[in-house]
C-alpha cells in the first residue's frame, strides 16, 4: 500500500497473457478440445474442463465496442486518486465477440461514454518492463 497503482501479478496461469501485454500484444487462452476461448485464463478450460489449452496471439490491432461500464468517483485502491472520475469498461472484441475484456477507458469524458461505442486497445507502459492494456475511443 505505497500509494502506487497495483501492477498485474504474473502467475502460473496468466503469465503468457501479461508477457505478451508487455510486448504490446494481446494473447488469449483457447481450448484445443472444445475450441472455445477462455478469459481470464486458468489451469483448465472453464467450458469443458480440458487441460489441452493453447495460446492464440491476436496481434496489436485490437478493435472492440463498449459492452458495459461503470464510472467511479472515489478511489477504491491506492494510486487512483488522481484519475477520477475513472471509467472501467468491458468491451466486446470485434474478432471474438464472446470475449469481453475489462480495462479502463482512457481519453474519454465520462459524459460521452456509451454502450456500443467503438474502442481500440492501447498499451500503457506503466514501468520500464511492464505494460497494461487499455481502451481508448477509436476516433481519438
Amino acid at each position: 500500500m505505497n500509494g502506487q497503482k497495483p501492477i498485474p501479478l504474473k502467475t502460473q496461469d496468466n503469465q503468457h497473457y501479461w508477457d505478451m501485454a508487455d510486448q504490446h500484444e494481446l494473447a488469449l487462452q483457447k481450448c484445443n478440445d472444445c475450441g472455445k476461448y477462455a478469459h481470464p485464463p486458468g489451469p483448465s478450460c472453464v467450458h469443458c474442463g480440458s487441460t489441452n489449452l493453447t495460446w492464440e496471439s491476436l496481434g496489436n490491432n485490437i478493435e472492440a465496442t463498449i459492452y458495459s461500464y461503470i464510472i467511479s468517483y472515489r478511489p477504491f485502491l491506492p494510486g487512483f486518486q488522481d484519475d477520477l472520475p475513472l471509467i472501467i469498461a468491458q468491451a466486446e472484441l470485434k474478432q471474438i465477440p464472446e470475449i469481453k475484456l475489462m480495462c479502463n477507458l482512457l481519453r474519454c469524458n465520462p459524459e460521452n461514454v456509451q454502450i456500443g461505442m467503438p474502442v481500440k486497445m492501447i498499451w500503457d507502459d506503466i514501468t520500464e518492463d511492464r505494460a497494461l492494456p487499455q481502451w481508448v475511443p477509436q476516433e481519438v
Binding site: I7, L9, T11
Partner: protein
C-alpha cells in the same frame, strides 16, 4: 427436497445491538444474538447440538460461541462466505438433522462491518490480486469494490431492459419507507424522497450511497430444527417449504457473460420443491447489497415480468400495500447488513404475524420467499410459510 417440505422449521431468531461502532468484539455480539434467538425459541444453549457460522475472516468461530455459551456441541462449522450463505447453511442443517446426526442447529453471522473490516471500501490490492480468480485482470484497473463489480453488470442490464436510475430509486424509496416503521433500522428517522435520491451524486455509477447497503456492526442468529421438535418451542414455527441452497455460474469477479447469473438457475427447482408459484408469494426478503440486485432477482425468480421489473417497483409493489411487500424492516439498504441474515429474521417475524396490529405487519401473509445473492456467480433461496 420434495420429502423435506414443511418438515423443518425456523424456531428462533435474534440479533445484537446494531451500530456504527460496537465498541466490542464479534464474539460478544454473537453471544447477544445467540441468547436472543434461544430466548425467542424458548430453548437453552444445551439444546443446540450444532453451531454454524459464515464469515470473511472477520468474526468469531462457532466453537468460540458454543464455548462461551457454556456448552459442548457435537458439531461446529465455519465457512467463508457472504451473501446466500444463510440459505446454504440452513440447507446443510436440514441435511444433518435429516441424517439424524443433529437435532437442533444455531446459525449465526457476527461482524464489525463498520468499525472493523469494511467490504465497501475495498481491500488490500496485493491480497485481492492473488485471492480473487482473475484478480490481475481487475485490480490493476482500480476495480476493488463490490459496487464496481456489480455495477458493471447493472449498467448492461439497465441498457438491455430499459431500467433507469428512477427505477433503482424506487427500490431504495420502498425500503427506506419500511425502515421508518422499524425503530431498530439504522436509517429510521431518515426518509428518502425521489428528489433527494436523484440529487445524490454517484459513488460509482450507476450507484450512489442510497443504492448501497448500510455497513454496520451487528450479529444475527437463527435456530433450525425439525417440525416435531418445533412443537416444543415457545415460538410459532416458520416452516421451510422449499430450498435451493446454492447454484453457481462461472467466473466470480471477471464476468464475460453479463446476461447470465446464478439466480436464474435457482427459481425453477425452488418453486418445484415448495409446490408453489411465484405469484403465491405474499412477502419477500430479497438480497439487497445494492438496489439493482433486487431488480435482477425479481426478474430471475419470476416475481415480476421480465422486462417490466422497473415498472413493477415504480408502481409501488415492494411497499406495504403492493403486490409483494419486500424487505419490510428496511432491508440491507436501510435497516442493517449482515450479508442477508437480517432479512431472514424479518421474514420469519412477518410470517409469525409478530407485528400484528401494527402498521408494519404484512396483513395475513402466509407464504414468503427469501433470496440470497453472493454475486452473479453464486445464489440460493428458500420459501417459508407459517
Amino acid at each position: 427436497m420434495g420429502k423435506i417440505k414443511d418438515r423443518y422449521a425456523i424456531v428462533g431468531v435474534g440479533e445484537s445491538e446494531r451500530s456504527r461502532n460496537s465498541g466490542t468484539t464479534p464474539l460478544h455480539m454473537a453471544l447477544d444474538a445467540a441468547r436472543a434467538a434461544l430466548n425467542d425459541a424458548g430453548l437453552e444453549a444445551k439444546d443446540i447440538d450444532g453451531f454454524m457460522n459464515y464469515n470473511e475472516n472477520d468474526s468469531c468461530t462457532s466453537h468460540q460461541l458454543a464455548t462461551y455459551l457454556g456448552v459442548r456441541p457435537k458439531y461446529v462449522k465455519d465457512i467463508q462466505g457472504g451473501g446466500s450463505s444463510t440459505e446454504m447453511l440452513i440447507g446443510d442443517a436440514i441435511g444433518l438433522i435429516e441424517a439424524r446426526m443433529l437435532n437442533t442447529v444455531l446459525i449465526f453471522r457476527s461482524m464489525n462491518g463498520s468499525s472493523g473490516q469494511r467490504v465497501g471500501r475495498g481491500y488490500d490490492p496485493d491480497m485481492l490480486q492473488s485471492a480473487l480468480p482473475g484478480g490481475s485482470y481487475i485490480i490493476p484497473y482500480g476495480s476493488a469494490s463490490p459496487s464496481q463489480w456489480f455495477g458493471m453488470f447493472a449498467t448492461r442490464h439497465m441498457y438491455e431492459t430499459g431500467i433507469t436510475k428512477e427505477h433503482l430509486g424506487h427500490v431504495c424509496l420502498s425500503f427506506y419507507e419500511h425502515a421508518q416503521r422499524n425503530p431498530k433500522a439504522f436509517l429510521h428517522g431518515k426518509p428518502l424522497t425521489m428528489e433527494k435520491y436523484l440529487e445524490t451524486p454517484d459513488i460509482s455509477y450507476p450507484f450512489n450511497i442510497h443504492d448501497s447497503c448500510v455497513e454496520l456492526d451487528e450479529a444475527n442468529a437463527i435456530i433450525v430444527t425439525s417440525a416435531e421438535r418445533a412443537n416444543d418451542c415457545k415460538s410459532k414455527p416458520v416452516y421451510i417449504m422449499g430450498m435451493e441452497a446454492r447454484q453457481c455460474h462461472p467466473n466470480a469477479h471477471y464476468w464475460a457473460d453479463l446476461n447470465q447469473v446464478a439466480s436464474d438457475y435457482v427459481g425453477e427447482n425452488l418453486f418445484q420443491s415448495a409446490g408453489v408459484k411465484p405469484e403465491d408469494m405474499q412477502v419477500a426478503s430479497i438480497y439487497d447489497c445494492f438496489s439493482w440486485v433486487v431488480l435482477r432477482q425479481l426478474e430471475a425468480y419470476g416475481l415480476a415480468p421480465k422486462g417490466e421489473v422497473g415498472e413493477f417497483v415504480a408502481d409501488g409493489n415492494l411497499r406495504m400495500d403492493g403486490k409483494l411487500p419486500t424487505n419490510t424492516a428496511g432491508g440491507m439498504l436501510s435497516e442493517g447488513y449482515t450479508h442477508g441474515m437480517n432479512n431472514v429474521l424479518e421474514i420469519v417475524r412477518q410470517l409469525r404475524h409478530e407485528y400484528k396490529g401494527a402498521e408494519r405487519q404484512v396483513k395475513d401473509c402466509e407464504i414468503g420467499i427469501c433470496t440470497g445473492w453472493s454475486g452473479p456467480d453464486i445464489a440460493g433461496a428458500m420459501i417459508l410459510r407459517n
